[in-house]
């Protein structure tokens, strides 16, 4: 037997008993939707999503491609600036040293350090530390594997810095519903019906939705406000409609994104006399793509931008036509809160 034959034979024997699961398609679709959800629900809900899925360790163990990593990089850099890059938080040269120089007002590189040291460091620098734990075999337990904003970003004292800490075991106490309360941000407190945030009131929502009982501030740039509405009984970390209010710096980043949509050939639709884009967006929010998240976005008033997203699940339930009608109705109902 020559070596090619022998190798072929060995390889055949190796995988002869392997068959793809009949549920593969289902898993792929679920995963596809979840990835979107994780990005859209901003960083702090990441663990909730990862735990709720109950995935094998390997799923969260790929910094380069992992939707979790994408989720972390997304809200801060991607959603705002349209430069989504999972991997912006990879360790830089400076991160490998033992001492960390901390210029004032600049987020230090903390990737690769131990979580305890990093928390002290960030705390002393005046930052609010947010923690996300991710199950991974790639880094020693307790190591910071990603940060947001990225090292070198200017951020004033008091700003939130989110760090992702490697953990190797999903402890049972981390699973929902506890994870929901501990990891979903409640930056804006109890919003009642959730319809008023960031100086904006949402006049219309589909009848079957209720407030998702979480809210985030500045996850999509400074200043931004976000929350979501869900169908009753939906699992944690999942949304049906999510709304983001962009103001100040965040609003100008959104405006840039809107110009980008025009550049990609999107035709504006009319919302209450204003030019809005009703498009399907990639996870980073900067590209128009088939099968993306259905989104309507526009500038409501000078310095106030709005983005309303519909989850692919909810869109599928309504059908594209009805989904677009609902999005336009929601958009028409959004007004400055006076």
């Amino acid at each position: 037997m020559n070596v090619e034959e022998a190798l072929r034979d060995a390889m055949a024997a190796q995988v002869a008993g392997v068959h793809a699961s009949p549920y593969l398609g289902q898993s792929v679709r679920r995963r596809s939707r979840r990835a979107t959800v994780r990005f859209r629900t901003a960083g702090a809900a990441v663990l909730t999503a990862a735990v709720a899925v109950g995935v094998p360790v390997a799923m969260t163990a790929q910094p380069g491609t992992d939707p979790v990593a994408g989720g972390l990089a997304g809200p801060g850099t991607g959603a705002g600036a349209g430069v989504a890059a999972p991997g912006t938080a990879t360790p830089s040269e400076t991160g490998s040293g033992d001492t960390i120089a901390v210029p004032e007002g600049v987020v230090p590189d903390v990737v690769g350090k131990s979580a305890g040291d990093v928390m002290t460091l960030l705390d002393e620098a005046g930052y609010t530390v947010r923690i996300v734990k991710v199950v991974t075999g790639d880094a020693p337990e307790g190591t910071v594997i990603a940060q947001m904003p990225a090292a070198g970003t200017a951020a004033p004292a008091g700003a939130a810095v989110m760090i992702t800490i490697a953990t190797t075991v999903v402890s049972t106490s981390d699973t929902a519903p506890d994870a929901q309360t501990s990891w979903t941000p409640q930056d804006l407190g109890d919003l009642g019906d959730g319809r008023t945030l960031g100086g904006v009131h949402v006049g219309y929502l589909p009848k079957d939705l209720e407030w998702g009982k979480w809210s985030g501030k500045d996850g999509f740039g400074t200043e931004s406000y976000t929350t979501s509405w869900v169908e009753p009984g939906q699992e944690p970390g999942v949304y049906s409609i999510q709304l983001i209010v962009y103001r100040k710096e965040a609003a100008s980043l959104l405006a840039k994104r809107l110009r980008g949509y025009a550049g990609q050939g999107a035709r504006p639709v009319d919302v209450d006399g204003k030019r809005a884009y009703l498009v399907s967006l990639s996870e980073g929010g900067d590209r128009i793509t088939d099968g993306g998240t259905r989104t309507i976005t526009w500038t409501l008033a000078s310095g106030v931008g709005i983005e309303v997203m519909m989850s692919p699940d909810y869109e599928a339930k309504l059908g594209r036509g009805a989904a677009d009608r609902e999005l336009r109705k929601i958009a028409a109902g959004v007004a400055l809160d006076r």
Binding site: L7, D9, A16, H19, S27, V28
Partner: protein, 166 residues
């Protein structure tokens, strides 16, 4: 994504997913569970672009995503060392070739990920040198030299073994 797209994606999975999974196992040297996870994440990419790629050789696209994913995963995690291979159940334990197969597979796992991918694509998937080169994004010359070096290493190990048992 239309209903027709969805149905076509299901058909595609039914026809191709087992082959993709097997290739992934061989290229990244991982267990079936690990490889399935990887194939899922590769297929998620395929699914995301499905309406665009379905009429344009989706199998080649999927294979490229799977193989590149497998290579980078093998590099990143060095799964080759961490995961012990389970022998497939239908391989009789008393098979005289069992030793040889194990030795060959062990040698295969020791190769650099890209070299192993070349061998898997050439001798498992039966792709031509040109197809392999296109898939891996390298030249035909690279495929030839990687295949030759990989085979030489496996051959050396095989002859060594046969020499010992003779």
């Amino acid at each position: 994504m239309t209903d027709e797209d969805e149905a076509a994606f299901d058909e595609f999975l039914a026809a191709r997913s087992t082959a993709l999974l097997r290739t992934a196992i061989l290229v990244c040297g991982a267990s079936a569970v690990d490889a399935e996870d990887m194939v899922q994440s590769a297929l998620e990419k395929v699914y995301r672009h499905w309406p665009r790629i379905r009429h344009d050789n989706p199998e080649a696209y999927a294979r490229r995503v799977v193989v590149n994913g497998a290579i980078s995963r093998a590099r990143r995690r060095k799964v080759i060392r961490e995961i012990t291979f389970a022998q497939p159940p239908e391989t009789p334990v008393e098979s005289p070739d069992l030793g040889l197969r194990e030795v060959l597979l062990a040698e295969l796992r020791k190769l650099p990920a890209r070299m192993r991918a070349v061998l898997v694509l050439r001798y498992w998937e039966d792709l031509s040198e040109a197809e392999t080169a296109a898939l891996l994004g390298c030249s035909v010359g690279t495929v030839k030299s990687q295949a030759a070096r990989g085979l030489a290493r496996v051959r050396a190990r095989m002859e060594n073994l046969e020499g010992a048992s003779a």
